[in-house]
Symmetry: C2
Subunit: 214 residues, 2 copies
DNA sequence: GACGATAGATGCATTCAGTGCAGTATTGCA
DNA sequence: TGCAATACTGCACTGAATGCATCTATCGTC
């Protein structure tokens, strides 16, 4: 399968070394307290070489072009004939939230913490998110020709992602440290915000409230 | 009213001079093609002084803490007893869109263009937007105690603002130059995206289409 | 296995944003 | 008028990022 050339393998290894060195140093001395030169030295490369792997210091912590996009695109591709655009997005959103590995991986956790605290990281994260939205909107638009135009699709995607982002922001700043509880509150909040789109059979928290009225 | 001390007046004048110089130079040589030193020289101040007025180069184009927030907060304060949170946001959103002066003022137009093209500006803009959302969510939460918690309010606000942002992004990149047409398409797209929240009497584009079919 | 082409690594110099500091000028106030 | 607070400025410095020239390792080919 992975018949990569020696050059390619070496490059991957160096890349990995950079990321690991960066994570190590960021955790020890903080983001601002770590210079690119420090990272390069720890990864045993020249400072100049760093920038042939990553365009900027932030980039180290935003490696892969997020698997989330792919998950949503898959969900769009797997839509049923009865599904409205909003249904598809709703399902995708839940899948993504459920499978969110953002609390497990060490890099992901660090990234989260830095996004919350370092302006440069926050800005970068938001930009990538907006790009991802655009990408998803394109797919959604293509999946519903005649029904959704580019702008409408972007608005719809924006609404759904915006709800998640808004909730997540508050959750992170409140600083709860229990991932399970946070995930549940996130689901509740977005469900509530997006309630007008929910079908009856899709309203878990209404159902649970019927069973156990407050 | 404006009994400012001489110092204060002088400071305002210098501030104004910096902004004007910056706008001038950005329009002539582009954002990246203009250094802080250039701006300072044009504004007849020392380079160092620039940073006692603005914390960074971007900041020059994000002056006042946006009147938009105030407009939304006002809309929340002016809510009727029958209004649901979504109703309030919907009305506020329309007011803001309608009064949007972002196409008239020279600074605003330049800012728009740079947000679209310069990563640093985009990042900064998104950060400010998220902060604004948070602020609005706080007010909304306070206005509906017992009904909305912090997280839920943030999700709701995020959904509405996200819809507008998503649509706006596509509209800007499509690069239509007719502000009126863009404003109309924006309204249509967000209306469509937020349709599940619309009351019947709140659907202007359905109504106007009945009156004057295209 | 040798060889030329190519891609990657590196050092060096440079630009530019942003900060800390110290000294000077200006303003507000008594 | 004089004193204290505040603003302005130059200077030196750090750190990110880029361009360029050079050197080295790898690759495909014969």
């Amino acid at each position: 399968m992975a018949e990569l050339s020696l050059r390619e393998r070496k490059r991957q290894r160096t890349r990995q070394a950079i990321v690991e060195a960066a994570v190590e140093l960021f955790e020890e001395h903080g983001y601002e307290g770590t210079t690119v030169a420090d990272i390069a030295e720890a990864a045993e490369i020249g400072t100049r070489t760093f920038f042939s792997y990553f365009a900027s210091k932030e980039e180290v912590l935003f490696p892969e072009s997020d698997s989330r996009i792919r998950a949503v695109v898959d969900a769009i591709a797997a839509r049923g004939p009865e599904d409205r655009p909003a249904d598809v997005l709703l399902r995708a959103l839940r899948t993504v939230n459920r499978d969110s590995d953002d609390m497990v991986s060490r890099v992901a956790a660090l990234r989260m913490r830095l996004i919350r605290t370092v302006p440069a990281m926050r800005g970068r994260g938001l930009q990538l998110q907006l790009d991802a939205q655009r990408e998803i909107a394109r797919h959604l638009c293509a999946a519903y020709p005649g029904e959704l135009d580019e702008v409408g699709a972007a608005a719809l995607v924006g609404a759904f992602v915006g709800a998640v982002t808004g909730a997540l922001q508050v959750l992170m700043e409140t600083g709860g440290d229990d991932p399970v509880a946070m995930s549940r509150r996130l689901q509740e909040a977005t469900d509530a915000a997006l309630r007008p789109w929910l079908h009856e059979q899709d309203k878990p928290y209404v159902r649970s409230r019927e069973q156990a009225p407050s």
